[in-house]
């Protein structure tokens, strides 16, 4: 009995200090909807999106922040979801590639990528489009050089980038 009381006291102290409450949830907005996930264990956003929510549009590439395939928007800014831990998500707004289209209506950027022939294997495209979305929000009419600077964190092995840059430039000119 005494051992159990001691263990319980230590656990309460640890919980109070660490705020490890097994019932605690992290609440955030995902593609416009309020969602919650367990606060424990702390995982990376990329895994949560794909495994918990079935949003497999966001791709795993390098898992080191070097390829950009996992790019999502966090409070409107492009981030590598492989480097965002779930404890950081409280109150944040996350938008994935699935959140761009409205029903069957594609976002302008998605349509531009299709129209310009910027998609080959498609693996880099969700991340590339999310980066483009963030770029165009900050700089609605970027030059080619500014586009190249903006997408420097997104690798594509197929296209040589030319049509990707054209697609983003076209979106800028249409605004």
């Amino acid at each position: 009995m005494q051992l159990r009381i001691k263990e319980y006291s230590l656990l309460r102290l640890r919980n109070a200090e660490n705020r490890i409450d097994m019932k605690k949830q992290i609440q955030f907005i995902l593609n416009g909807k309020k969602v919650s996930i367990s606060a424990q264990p702390v995982r990376i956003l990329l895994d949560v999106l794909r495994e918990d929510f079935g949003l497999t549009g966001t791709k795993e590439g390098c898992k080191k922040g070097e390829c950009g395939a996992c790019t999502v928007l966090m409070n409107g800014k492009a981030v590598n979801s492989c480097l965002i831990t779930t404890n950081k998500l409280n109150g944040k707004s996350i938008v994935t590639i699935e959140g761009l289209s409205k029903g069957d209506k594609l976002d302008k950027i998605q349509q531009a990528f299709i129209d310009e022939g910027a998609v080959q294997c498609g693996y880099c495209i969700p991340g590339m489009i999310m980066t483009a979305k963030a770029l165009l929000k900050e700089n609605p009419q970027p030059t080619k050089e500014e586009i190249k600077y903006g997408i420097a964190g997104n690798l594509c092995r197929c296209t040589g980038y030319k049509k990707i840059i054209s697609a983003i430039e076209k979106c800028g000119k249409e605004k």
Binding site: P41, I44, G65, T85, K88, A152, G153
Partner: protein
């Protein structure tokens, strides 16, 4: 990837108490762009991660008449877009522009970049030519160091186990001062530097004064190129002089051969990068 023990705190005082308690088991987590990669690559376990990224009073850029103060959780995106940084810290502005990618700059912090203590750190060569002071805080109080005295080896610095970097301070560059940061890597962005250089000096009647030159990724730490700085001091801005300065700086580097480059190439590129900086940013 799963992190077993993560404590998120919004209070600097609480963070200081926690890091004092956990000491060698504590790992501070801000942007996470170095830490999370280390967790994967080095299979780091049995640590307590103290996430300080939400501590508001460790974020921001403040200026007064003579000085700039950068708080450690300021991201590279914020540095890159900051008007005071652009106006008063030419080398640091250059470094913030080329660091990482948009995605990385949105979360990577200048404090994390410093404390990781890599000889390839983007912010360190500029902060050293700016002669920055850094403030380290613990539950026992605060202390300040010149950043040029802070690094002791590759990924090693003088921060104690129970300390947090809480401030970076330096004098604003004046109108008669010039400076730049140049780096060379496999990719224009994201790749770790093979070589980097930073420069700052006053230009008075076309003569250099108060010259400071630093070299990154060519020694165990970022180093001051003292001989090159001393050579250039008081000399006129001519092509012959800057070429000799760049040559001397190259002889002060002690690069190694590794997966990114050879020591011979790195030594040569110290010279080239300095000249590139001079030609692009200063030559009129």
């Amino acid at each position: 990837m799963i992190l077993d023990n993560v404590i998120t705190t919004k209070s600097l005082n609480e963070a200081l108490r926690l890091i004092d308690k956990y000491r060698s088991k504590a790992v501070l987590l801000a942007g996470g762009t170095n830490v999370l990669i280390d967790v994967q690559d080095r299979n780091i376990k049995d640590k307590t991660f103290i996430d300080i990224s939400e501590i508001k009073n460790l974020k921001g850029i403040k200026e007064d008449k003579d000085k700039l103060v950068i708080l450690p959780l300021t991201t590279f995106d914020e540095l890159n877009k900051s008007k005071p940084i652009e106006r008063y810290t030419l080398p640091l502005k250059d470094a913030a522009y080329c660091m990482g990618s948009m995605q990385i700059r949105n979360i990577a912090t200048i404090g994390g970049n410093i404390i990781n203590a890599s000889p390839t750190a983007e912010s360190v060569p500029p902060l050293m030519v700016l002669d920055a002071d850094i403030e380290l805080s613990s539950i026992n109080g605060k202390r300040s160091l010149r950043i040029q005295d802070f690094f002791t080896g590759c990924n090693e610095c003088k921060i104690k186990r129970n300390e947090i970097l809480t401030k970076i301070t330096f004098k604003k560059m004046k109108k008669d001062e010039i400076g730049f940061y140049q780096r060379l890597a496999m990719r224009k962005h994201l790749s770790i530097s093979k070589v980097s250089v930073a420069f700052k000096a006053r230009l008075v009647d076309k003569h250099f004064q108060d010259v400071r030159i630093t070299l990154g990724a060519v020694a165990a730490t970022v180093i001051m190129a003292k001989k090159a700085s001393q050579f250039l001091e008081g000399k006129p801005f001519t092509e012959k002089i800057i070429k000799e300065t760049a040559r001397i700086a190259s002889t002060e580097s002690t690069p190694i051969t590794d997966i990114r480059s050879t020591k011979e190439y790195r030594g040569k590129m110290v010279e080239s990068l300095l000249l590139k900086g001079f030609y692009r940013y200063i030559w009129e």
